[in-house]
């Protein structure tokens, strides 16, 4: 065999070998038993402090890795379990999320995004973990007023308006904190459970957050608040209709002319549209969100 033939033969071995290996991998993939869903949620082998020691000066990179792993962990669950709002992931069994975020923030205590994520996502899973991680962030970054905003948000969700007011007040004293933090302190103390306070919280969150997912969650919550106002108005209108005619409308078409006269946006079937553009669903003398609407039902 001359040199040229030998080169061709070896080249063929390489190409055919790679092709065979790829085919074999495909075959092995089909033979492999299905992944145990609980195996994904195995506990982390190392805690944050140990990981920091083991990182040998690469702790920032390790923190980034844990952060990306947290996002992927949540992302994978969301893909598997339909599209749910970021602040309502309690049903997804995200038991690894708190340790992952805890490790990321131990590795890089100045990394603010995992604290924000913990404050938004964790309350629906384990509120104590959410408070602990956010407080840890405040201890490590006492001048980051946004962390006080997040902690205030957690307390507000728990209806602990006094604690929320206190935290907003502490955050407001930090140099560079926006003036609305002081206003939030007063609002929480006086009117913590109102829809106006909720609107203020989500508006600020939407304006301040750099995370697209958090901004999207805040946007959807704002749409939800608007839709609650709309639904209240529609219910009043339906009650008035029932009082006048003695019956509930059987379809939106029946009352469409009134909506048009009031400049309420309606679709082709005459159904009024929610703030996301989806039609409301008519129940006898009641109104509900369309299940396809992007506005969260809860």
């Amino acid at each position: 065999m001359n040199d040229r033939n030998r080169t061709i033969a070896l080249g063929l071995v390489v190409v055919i070998g790679i092709a065979c290996a790829a085919l074999l991998v495909q075959r092995i993939d089909t033979l492999r038993p299905p992944e145990d869903p609980n195996a994904i949620d195995e506990s982390l082998y190392v805690n944050g402090k140990t990981a920091r020691r083991m990182s040998l000066g690469f702790n920032g990179l390790a923190a980034d890795w844990y952060w990306m792993r947290s996002l992927q962990y949540v992302g994978r669950k969301i893909i598997n379990d339909n599209d749910v709002p970021l602040d309502n992931l309690g049903l997804l069994n995200l038991k690894l999320l708190a340790p992952l975020l805890d490790t990321a923030t131990t590795l890089d205590p100045e990394f603010l995004d995992p604290y924000e994520y913990a404050a938004i996502v964790l309350p629906a899973i384990n509120v104590n973990d959410a408070i602990r991680i956010t407080k840890k962030g405040i201890d490590a970054n006492p001048n980051a007023w946004r962390l006080y905003q997040h902690l205030g948000y957690i307390y507000w969700q728990q209806h602990d308006y006094q604690a929320a007011s206190e935290i907003y007040g502490r955050g407001a004293q930090i140099e560079g904190a926006p003036p609305w933090m002081e206003a939030m302190k007063a609002k929480m103390a006086a009117d913590g459970g109102s829809r106006a306070t909720a609107r203020e919280i989500y508006t600020r969150m939407y304006e301040q957050s750099a995370d697209e997912k958090v901004r999207d969650m805040a946007r959807r919550r704002l749409l939800q608040l608007d839709s609650l106002d709309q639904r209240e108005s529609l219910r009043k209108f339906l009650a008035a209709y029932q009082a006048r005619t003695g019956k509930c409308p059987s379809s939106w078409k029946e009352i469409e002319p009134v909506f048009r006269a009031l400049h309420v946006a309606v679709d082709a079937s005459g159904a009024p549209l929610d703030p996301s553009g989806a039609p409301f669903v008519l129940r006898p003398c009641d109104v509900e969100l369309d299940p396809k609407s992007e506005i969260p039902a809860k």
Partner: protein, 278 residues
Amino acid sequence: METTAAITQSTRRTESRQGKLWRISAIARNAFREAVRDRVLYNLVLFVLLLTGASVFIGELSGGQERKVIVDLGLSAMLLFGVFIAIFVGVGLVYKEIERRTIYAVFSKPVGRGEFLVGKYLGLCLTLLVNVLVMGVGVSLALVYVSHGWDQLIPTIWPAVLLIYMELMLLTATALLFSSFSSPALSALLTFMVFIIGHFSTDLKSLAASLGGSGARWLFTSLYYLLPNLSNYSFITPAAHGRAPSPGFVFATALYAFVYIAVILAAATLVFSRRNFK
């Protein structure tokens, strides 16, 4: 008469000093050329690919944290590649000359053992300098790419790059010291262990403080002061948050590196001078 003799002696000393510097620089240039010929700088290609990939894809994975990830990844890769070069090239600097028997040709000329070691050391430091400079530019360009223009993190990464370079200089000296009396494999292992222990030095101090026995406490305290404290040179994470070290800190760490390198090279020369090449 006495004045003339003193002038002649002084001229000879100056000439001798200049000759020494010339010989060291010739060995250093040669070591640099050898590293380039050994394709050591090929790692830069890998680095560029890594950063390009990171710039394009990390944004999708990191939830809008691509700038931080690029700095963390870029500077960590710079340190990691640098450590591998310092260890694997550093341990072979002397060994290869002995194995190829070229060291006999070098020492048949008026070249001192110390000059040889310092020249080799500086040659590898020059290679590492080129590496970290190109990588630093690469990280800066990646930041420009993701920010679509000037990025505020660019000025803060360069002090961190300087600290990484100092750490690599320390490790190179350590590798050279071990290779002056040991085999390449063992030298690489020992240098890598120094790298690990160097990043654990703060733990050594806390361990010493927590120990009851005075002997153990003395041992760990001695180790803390004896081994290079490499954690001082870790400034990657603060750099990713836009924080730069103070000039005082950089000066102190540079002085520490200078003193430590001088000690290691002196020890390496001492050991190497006793080796018999006849």
